[in-house]
């Protein structure tokens, strides 16, 4: 009983470091960014209140392709859901069933996750290269392209967005595979056995027993891959640069406006990115809850 009386004090002490970090670096900056976003601020000059002008400029001007960038990350998010996650799930199910070399395949598939995105970006830039690269020769030997080399990374070319998206999808297949593998392994063996005894084929066991009981993990994967797409930056920045419009993502617009001192505009981009992420997370949560 006398424990209760001293609890308030110890709650404050134990919670303090986390709350300080969280409020100082996440909560306060969200508020401050929202505040900055309504100022015309050309650093190092002073900021001048301008209402929603920054947002208007970002959504209408050709110089700051925020609107196009949102479309681009939606394409990326859609392809993550349609290509990346099914691929991860397929790998996880195959490996989760137990196959020779399970450990090896798991390790190799997870490897790109641990390699620096900067390295992956620089590496793919070389692979795409029309002169010393290997993507063109490989596609040619498969008969997919003709004699002409494709300029994948041509500034603002029509292949640029796809060229940025492919390594982004590729790198994180292993991440989701391992999450989903954990999900497959956590399904009680009795459940699977019961289904097998009832005459289900292994494929039916996957479809009707394993996948439905992985819902929690699948939700996490969907949230991570969609919000990850919405806030993506590294690979686009290295493959296409911050000033691109063809492959712009909201974060390259943010970094570009920041680097030329337009802090108000940059903050407006930040606000748009966080709204996108929150809305996506809430929607996905709601969708998964409805399925219950």
């Amino acid at each position: 009983m006398n424990r209760k009386s001293s609890d308030t004090g110890s709650i404050i002490v134990f919670l303090l470091p986390a709350v300080l970090l969280f409020v100082g670096i996440l909560v306060a900056p969200i508020i401050i960014s929202t505040y900055y976003s309504v100022f015309d601020w050309r650093f190092p000059f002073d900021k001048v209140y301008c209402g929603f002008k920054n947002y208007k400029t970002l959504f209408t001007s050709d110089w700051y392709p925020l609107w196009g960038s949102i479309k681009n990350v939606f394409v990326l998010a859609a392809l993550s859901l349609l290509i990346q996650l099914p691929l991860s799930l397929g790998l996880a199910l195959m490996l989760g069933r137990g196959i020779k070399g399970e450990r090896f395949f798991l390790s190799v598939n997870f490897l790109p996750v641990l390699i620096s995105t900067v390295v992956i970006g620089l590496l793919w830039r070389r692979m795409y290269d029309a002169e010393g690269g290997i993507i063109n020769p490989i596609l040619r030997s498969l008969g997919i392209i003709g004699e002409e080399n494709i300029q994948w990374l041509e500034a603002n070319g029509d292949k640029l967005l796809m060229a940025c998206i492919i390594p982004m999808l590729w790198q994180y297949v292993g991440y989701h595979m391992l999450l989903m593998y954990a999900g497959v392994k956590s399904v009680a063996p009795e459940l699977r056995e019961a289904a097998m005894i009832d005459g289900a084929t292994p494929w039916q066991v996957d479809r009707f027993v394993v996948i439905p009981s992985m819902k929690q993990v699948l939700k996490v994967s969907v949230i991570f891959s969609v919000t990850g797409s919405l806030k993506s930056y590294d690979l686009v920045s290295i493959l296409a640069g911050d000033r691109t419009s063809a492959a712009a993502v909201p974060s390259t617009v943010l970094m570009n406006t920041k680097s030329i001192g337009l802090y108000g505009m940059s903050s407006a981009c930040a606000v748009v990115i966080i709204i996108l992420c929150f809305v996506a997370a809430v929607l996905i949560n709601a969708l998964f809850r409805e399925r219950d």
Binding site: S10, I11, F14, L15, P17, L21, F22, L26, A28, P29, I30, S33, Y36, G90, L91, M94, L95, R97, I99, R103, L106, S107, N109, F110, L111, P112, V113, L114, S116, V118, V119, L122, L123, R126, M127, E131, G132, I134, P137, L178, L179, A182, M196, G199, P202, V205, V220, K231, D234, S251, L254, M255, K258, Y263, A270, I273, I274, C277, F278, A281
Partner: protein, 297 residues
């Protein structure tokens, strides 16, 4: 009939015992995907050992011939690029920053989890939800405020200006995982300790912390993935060469110099090999820690 059924039932879910056709198809698919993962890395290494002529024309795909004398080791040792002197500095910075950030996140998360899982108080649920919501907050929102604040405080370009944000952005995930692990520690242990006269603090340090050791590597791996590659904040806050982290250091090294393809290959190989070695030595541990996070989280 009954016999048939028995046979059918005893068929196992494992691919090892399923039909050879399915097993072979699965193995082929897995080998194909492994090659898609491994070949680019192998090619990166070959790149670092060739000259431009080999890269562009004569030997696009494989290792150069004539090991070791005809391999172009000078890509690594070229003085203009200074790989072997500069990259270790980037590594040192990245390691210091990542380790301290993870340490701070770890301590703060375990302390917070202790109140969230062990104490009964009104706002506990609200705090829990708030921390959870933090998982989806991107680093981008903090960028301009951090830039302005650090320059006002005179901290621009210091390690601490990266450590604190990295710790904060790792925190939500760390709390989520830490909650999962702490829930699994039986509450009876606490009760026994209270009866023996332990305080709230005593229970935390003597009972909970020692039992949270398995959580450390799991929180560590998730936080590591968050911090090690971080580009946006680092690019913005760090300009001095001697403070650069690995991602911005390598990017800068390759971006600003007019250098041969082989040297680019050497730079990214040097940045990658230590990671790969650590991974090869610890892959089982790393994967198990990662999996524990997926299950507990």
């Amino acid at each position: 009939m009954a016999k048939d059924n028995m046979k059918f039932n005893s068929r196992d879910y494992s691919l090892k015992k399923s039909s050879p056709v399915g097993r072979v198809i699965c193995t082929i698919l897995l080998i194909f995907w492994s090659l898609v993962n491994l070949y680019p890395l192998f090619w990166m290494v070959t790149l670092s050992l060739k000259d431009n002529l080999q890269i562009n024309v004569t030997n696009k795909f494989g290792l150069p011939k004539g090991w070791p004398s005809q391999w172009h080791w000078e890509n690594y040792t070229h003085s203009e690029l200074g790989l072997l002197t500069r990259v270790p500095v980037f590594f040192k910075n990245s390691i210091i920053i990542t380790v301290l950030a993870i340490g701070i996140a770890l301590v703060a998360a375990m302390m917070a989890s202790y109140t969230l899982t062990r104490f009964q108080w009104k706002a506990s649920g609200a705090f829990n939800k708030m921390f959870l919501l933090g998982i989806t907050v991107p680093v981008q929102v903090s960028l301009v405020p951090l830039l302005v604040t650090t320059s006002q405080l005179g901290l621009t370009g210091t390690r601490i200006s990266l450590i604190i944000p990295y710790a904060a952005f790792s925190l939500s995930m760390a709390i989520l995982i830490s909650n999962g692990f702490m829930d699994n520690i039986p509450k009876e242990l606490d009760e026994a300790a209270y009866i023996d006269g332990c305080s709230r603090y005593g229970v935390f340090f003597r009972i909970i912390l020692p039992l949270m050791k398995p959580a450390v590597s799991t929180i560590g791996i998730y936080s590591f993935l968050q911090c090690w590659n971080e580009l946006i904040i680092a690019t913005t806050l760090v300009t001095k060469e001697e403070m650069k982290t690995l991602p911005i250091g390598i990017r800068n090294l390759v971006g600003t110099n007019k250098i041969d393809y082989g040297m680019i290959g050497a730079a990214i190989t040097v940045a990658t090999i230590p990671m790969v070695i650590v991974y090869v030595l610890m892959s089982k541990r790393i994967q198990e820690s990662f999996i524990a996070g997926a299950v507990k989280g």
